[in-house]
Symmetry: C2
């Protein structure tokens, strides 16, 4: 049985708590948050605290807090030489205080407050400084049913940036699709199967091979029609920039 203390109360902390709470291999023995109110709803399931000096001894301390406070919080922990990990994509492992055994458990997925998460669909990127801590973190991730991968801090930073492209930016393209269809009284719902198919396609095929459309074909007539039809300059700019990007990827010259 691996004993865990969770620190923080955001989406990642909450989803991790709920998932660990379901497994037999892991026991969350304590949940810390500066503001106790946020985690009070869980007080019948786990011991909660807002006092760092009251933290119990555990196999792993998981700092699921915002990037800015990871270093500071790790320094404030009133013990040393125990395994302390953070869950951030953008923060290096060395930003944790060196008095600890240090590691990272970065779950590469989008977490919403209310949506249920199946950790089988959450790859967990693991980094440790000392080799001995690695098997424990791997076992921890596996207990959730997650696939795991050893990833160093540089790779994790790049995955985090790439995640912004494929998640936040992609979602913004959905948003633009929503805006321009609704403005013409057309239904965004009609685009939903296409959105899903586009994501499914690259599960088995490289995005390079999966590309289609006017930019790849260099179909100037259609491109011109689309740019003309878009009303917002912002949408025109995005259309032009991504069209050029596709042309460059597929060996077409810029307009």
């Amino acid at each position: 049985m691996i004993s865990v203390v969770i620190l923080g109360a955001g989406n990642v902390a909450t989803h991790l708590f709920k998932a660990f709470n379901k497994t037999d291999e892991v026991s969350v023995i304590q949940w810390y948050n500066r503001n106790l109110d946020t985690i009070k709803p869980f007080k019948n399931l786990v011991e909660i605290t807002n006092d760092l000096n009251a933290l119990k001894e555990a196999d792993v301390y998981i700092l699921a807090v915002s990037d800015d406070v990871i270093g500071e919080l790790s320094s404030k922990l009133p013990f040393e030489n125990r395994l302390v990990v953070h869950t951030s994509g953008g923060v290096g492992v060395y930003e944790l205080d060196k008095k600890h055994k240090r590691g990272v458990l970065y779950p590469l997925q989008t977490f919403s407050k209310n949506a249920e998460i199946d950790f089988a669909n959450v790859p967990i990127c693991i980094e440790t400084i000392d080799k001995k801590s690695y098997p424990l973190l791997k076992q921890l991730a596996r207990s959730l049913g997650s696939p795991t991968k050893r990833v160093n801090s540089d790779q994790r930073r790049v995955l985090h940036a790439a995640a912004v492209f494929v998640n936040n930016f992609t979602n913004q393209l959905y948003r633009i699709g929503h805006e321009i269809t609704e403005s013409e009284g057309a239904e965004f719902d009609l685009l939903k199967p296409l959105i899903l198919e586009t994501a499914k396609k690259v599960q088995d095929m490289s995005p390079y091979m999966a590309q289609t459309g006017p930019a790849k074909r260099n179909d100037k007539k259609t491109i011109k029609k689309h740019v003309k039809l878009l009303k917002k300059q912002e949408h025109k700019d995005i259309y032009n920039l991504l069209t050029d990007s596709i042309k460059q990827t597929h060996g077409r010259k810029k307009l």
Copy 2:
């Protein structure tokens, strides 16, 4: 039984033929293509021809050809007053020769040469000029198991442009994710569950509500880190433009 003649031999034509060929409600009585070689593999399943003067009488003629030749091909058809439809998102219904009863069957999905398509996931946008033709086209689409929607030419053009955003541009963001991860020896595969989850999320939630990430939070530190880490100017430009777009959508000021 609805009798159909298909004209053209691209992805849409081929997928439509295969799908109609499976239903009992539709009979494809002839398949026309200028270049007979392309459709020869199907000659045991359907009569093929490259001669417009040999076209048989049918309930519907489906012009699944490239946008540029739709008007011209419709004019060349050696008959009139029959129902002739095209399948293009970007071409108006009036570009078909007015000697015909005119309509559009626009399947809103991405078609690949080899990937199987389940038409239950292909919304078909229908437009007709005369009201009488509408039920027949609806029946035709329904025979494939497709959801249908009446959509006028303006709405269809906007859906077509929106499809470029949510399909081609989104796929290019996947491509950039692929490029930047592989350049650092990280695995694109780790992003695949995130890609799928991002697409699934907007099936039940608006893209506006689904948004997360540094741009929405206006997390300047992370944004700066990401832009610095990107090596290609093109990627930096796309990062900045889409970050600004998200900020505008969510009421944040431009950098």
